[in-house]
Symmetry: C2
Amino acid sequence: MYQNIASSPIFRGLTESGIGELLGSTPHSIRSYSKGQTIAQRGDEVKNLCIVVEGSVKGEMVDFSGKILKIEEMHAPMPIAHAFLFGENNRFPVDVIALEDCKILYIPKPEFLRLMQRDSLVLSNYLNSISNRAQFLSNKLWFLSFKTIKEKIAHYLLNLSKSETRTTLVLPKSHQELAEFFGVTRPALARVLAEMQEEGIIHLNRREITILNRSKLLEMIR
Amino acid sequence: MYQNIASSPIFRGLTESGIGELLGSTPHSIRSYSKGQTIAQRGDEVKNLCIVVEGSVKGEMVDFSGKILKIEEMHAPMPIAHAFLFGENNRFPVDVIALEDCKILYIPKPEFLRLMQRDSLVLSNYLNSISNRAQFLSNKLWFLSFKTIKEKIAHYLLNLSKSETRTTLVLPKSHQELAEFFGVTRPALARVLAEMQEEGIIHLNRREITILNRSKLLEMIR
């Protein structure tokens, strides 16, 4: 159990015995859920730090027309809705459902606050974790402001290459992840990348991309 | 000086003398900038908690075509880029320029970490503050996924009204703020709201909106 928790973003860097000690002096609970069971409903107050310690859960949303939208999956040892534990609107943004039989670790908010004050590693981990979330969202919003897939790709590649001298890049995301990040389908992304290769703007080799014509890339976003 | 800091989201709830004591034992610096001066450049590492203690600054971005985009203004006593102090990409997301003569309080990251461990109010304030940012961004992303202004308004009103019995709502944002939140112009928003009133879906009275026809509102997003 502690082994799993030790690889969670919140407890990363602590030893298993260190975690045992911390949790030994911190009131917490572990609850089991069976596949399909509702763990939290959208709008419920987030009163605990919740970490999936076994199995996996999904976040979903029922829109006003009754259609169910799956938002994301969280597998052990990831936290659930951890950017919604504090703040003015500390409520679950989605329904949380067990994807398979699973166990969730709950640490009540006041206890978790004390834990962060006692242990600077847990504090840094949690701060890094919610800041990463804010940075991811901020970045994603910035990319959504570009209308076409071509514009998104051009901005993304220019951002990655930064200086004019670096022309060969290794994508830090898979094509699937990139498509999700841009909010487009994988085939649509692949089509535009292929077009750009035919036009001699880039050369593709799996995750490696070489910029052949930087000025054409700049033209695409003007 | 401490009076201004006491109303900052990070030090809210502390007395002026309490802040004096905290800062007295925390290494920090205050630097003055004249109007137009660059305070930080996009991509610079964020090494300090930065709070505008006098005057105001703007965040701007130069896009690849050389066009300058103003992103936002921060007035005293607001923090600057505070959701970028931690996390994997702890770099200024924008250039920060003095809008007028101003003073910035800098607390180095390790000192600020220690300060949060010593003072639970500062810790809660900072956690609330960056969580609010993540929640605002997450909410904004959700609204950007709706294509038309009509869809955005319908979702927004249905979200606000929640239950079917509450039909008169007071908007928590001004029309200007709502337009910015939706990423549309104020006249465009006003036009669609007026259309919806003419169609008998809503009745407008400044910030008060009455939902007259809920099923038509639901139709708009189907």
